[in-house]
């Protein structure tokens, strides 16, 4: 005689597989392997005594039972999520935002007071730890990702592209001729790097040793301290240039293959606070690029 309900994990997996019509897509969504999804769906179907999906080549299709069950599961989840959030104090208007540290410190933090003024009831939690590039940062409602274009597995839109160029302290003595003898800093694992910047304007690049860090913050701090040059782009450096803490010693700006993307989790679209934040950041970046 069985428990009147299957494990909740199976239902969560079912919902994701139904949403994606794909075990592989559900696996990405849930940060597990396709095999685990397959096994859980099999277990749930065994428990229910009938299939929930027709397996088609390269496609899933919900069965009648699956079509019947899905809204029930979603409704129960909504009830539980809302109830759980009410208990944890995690209101709908608390939004988890994931972005890299340089963006959060140099771009977002200075603008948060403006956001708060506009949306006093929306609470942001900003997560900036380095994370595995997955479909969506785990637990985040909204992610601002600086990368090559992500796969369209969650709702993804281009926020802005940018150009990159070296920056240094205002009184730092450097010329194109002496550049490659200076201490140079960069952020790792990017196509927008020193060599590509040089190539973009036809400079001979002698592959000088670069100091890499996993965040631009390190190089920018060194540059502001007069310790060398760092690559940068407007999104993270504009304010520092405006404040006179950095200068761009050379005129050339190379187009970046990386760009800033806004990623919205499925549940973000049902969360007013997340929607408000997404709309705000779209507007803010559009205004920045097309000043009135």
């Amino acid at each position: 005689m069985r428990n009147p309900l299957p494990p909740l994990g199976w239902l969560r997996t079912f919902e994701a597989a139904a949403r994606h019509l794909s075990f592989t897509g559900a696996a990405r969504d849930l940060n597990m392997t396709q095999s685990a999804v397959s096994q859980q769906i099999k277990s749930l179907e065994g428990y229910l005594g009938q299939p929930l999906f027709h397996r088609r080549p390269r496609a899933l299709e919900l069965t009648e039972a699956g079509i019947t069950y899905l809204p029930v599961v979603r409704e129960a989840f909504r009830t539980l999520v809302r109830g759980t959030q009410a208990v944890t104090g995690q209101q709908e208007n608390t939004v988890q935002v994931q972005c890299n540290i340089t963006f959060s410190v140099n771009w977002l933090a200075p603008r948060l007071p403006a956001f708060r003024a506009l949306h006093p009831d929306v609470h942001l939690n900003i997560f900036t730890e380095l994370w595995e590039p997955r479909e969506m940062a785990e637990g985040a409602a909204v992610e601002i990702r600086y990368s090559l274009r992500p796969a369209d597995t969650v709702r993804t839109e281009l926020l802005r592209s940018d150009h990159y160029y070296p920056v240094c302290a205002p009184d730092y003595p450097v010329t194109l001729e002496t550049l490659q003898q200076q201490p140079l800093y960069d952020c790792s694992n990017l196509l927008s790097n020193w060599a590509s910047w040089a190539e973009d304007q036809g400079l001979t690049w002698d592959n000088p040793q670069i100091t890499y860090a996993t965040t631009y913050m390190v190089g920018l701090s060194v540059a502001m301290a007069g310790g060398g040059l760092c690559l940068a782009h407007d999104t993270i450096a504009r304010r520092l240039l405006d404040e006179g803490r950095l200068i761009a010693p050379f005129a050339h700006r190379a187009p970046m293959p990386e760009a800033y993307y806004l990623l919205l989790s499925p549940q973000a679209e049902e969360t007013p606070g997340a929607v408000a934040f997404a709309n705000w950041i779209r507007a803010e970046i559009a205004a920045e690029q097309n000043p009135a």
Copy 2:
């Protein structure tokens, strides 16, 4: 960053603990140890970030958070249980009834056609396997228990008490003087036994060897075949006596400490089929004891 929902098992445990206001009671209900309940509640409270219960000496009390959460969890469970039942084809009017095999064969089965005629839309599943005497047989909506009075941990009511006496085949040669030299059969682990029957009427009992089985069915079958005598009572033997397959060779009937009880699981009371069955069996047994 966590999953937006805790494991369902924790919620089920929370609901049971809230219903009983006891971890020990919830443990009995859920067929797990008090320790497991305690750990799951602790995990759920950690997950939610606040307590759900105030621990008082010998009592639990729901916190504000617990009071808020309980209806949410119950509502979600109802949604899921109904949805799951719809998918599995397990309709509300399927009722799991647990009772011992002798009762089911000798009392219930002959009466099922009458029940079906009255309630054509209610489907009974009868479970008769030997089971651990728990608060409620696992998975059963309704249990008919033949035992000493159970603890009032689920809704329990006396269906009928009875008297016990020996039975044998009609032509079986036996007297009180020769009784103790006959093959004697009984059902194990009962206070209503040969020695107590003898004592009840002042017989000297020489502790003859008794053959025990875990069900009266064995002894009754032997008795009908002329192989000896078995203890019995009206609930399981009346029809056999009426049909002339058995006789009661002695007039003495001893009152049984055991009786038949009707146990209703918490969810049975919300299941129309279970309610219908319970009402029917109450009426049937009352009619049997007080024929018009």
